[in-house]
């Protein structure tokens, strides 16, 4: 089911976030300047990659079949030293300010909250949404 809150929901959230960031980039460059727009964009991309790795870590570590130790170690080694190191390197660029990076990082979370909020408003959080509630919401 396309609207279910399964693992597909996360993929759709990340696709929406990526699309939003791509739409933002040219407008950001025009209105804010090259470096602030790039800082927000890189924060957003970092947030997406961080979220992908977090989701992969949880899927590998916490599943009914048991832990896949080799994949878990690989993912943990990429996420914690490398990804966080990349964020540190991005933050040391003098033209990039931390608040801009933070705004970009928050885009994925904002998209997720808005998607869940939209689902609640439309009554899609139930397995079988009541048609009346959908009609009222639309």
């Amino acid at each position: 089911m396309r609207n279910s809150l399964g693992l597909d929901f996360l993929n759709r959230t990340l696709k929406t976030t990526g699309l939003l960031l791509l739409i933002f980039l040219p407008f950001g460059i025009y209105y804010l300047g090259v470096y602030p727009a790039l800082a927000v964009f890189s924060g957003g991309v970092w947030g997406i990659v961080n979220f992908i790795f977090l989701a992969a870590l949880i899927r590998v570590a916490f599943r009914p079949e048991g832990v896949d130790r080799r994949r878990l170690l690989g993912l943990a080694l990429v996420k914690f030293p490398m990804l966080y190191g990349a964020a540190y390197c991005l933050l040391t660029i003098p033209e990039f300010t931390p608040p801009q990076f933070l705004i970009g990082f928050s885009v994925a979370l904002a998209v997720m909250v808005l998607k869940v909020f939209g689902r609640l408003l439309l009554g899609l959080h139930d397995e079988n949404p009541e048609p009346k509630r959908l009609e009222r919401a639309l």
């Binding site: 809150l5 989701a55 931390p98 997720m112």
Partner: protein
């Protein structure tokens, strides 16, 4: 006590408290999710999704605190 000295004391303590809070939060979330998956293995995908979303928000709070720390860190020792 001077403002910068107070900041130098408070900022690392704040990061530490945020890390402890996040650790406790993720620990509780994962523990509850594992119990739920154990009770209903057929709902594992949905429970995992909820856990991933929760973990992302908890992790984000620590990252926010860390970035605020980096911002405040520039003010420590600056005259």
């Amino acid at each position: 006590m001077e403002y910068q000295t107070m900041l130098a004391w408070a900022a690392p303590i704040a990061v530490g408290l945020a890390a402890i809070g996040s650790g406790l939060g993720i620990g509780r979330a994962v523990g509850s999710a594992m119990e739920a998956i154990g009770r209903q293995p057929e709902a594992a995908a949905k429970i995992q999704t909820a856990m991933i979303i929760g973990a992302a928000f908890i992790e984000a709070l620590t990252i926010y605190v860390f970035i605020v720390f980096i911002m405040l860190n520039g003010k420590i020792g600056a005259h």
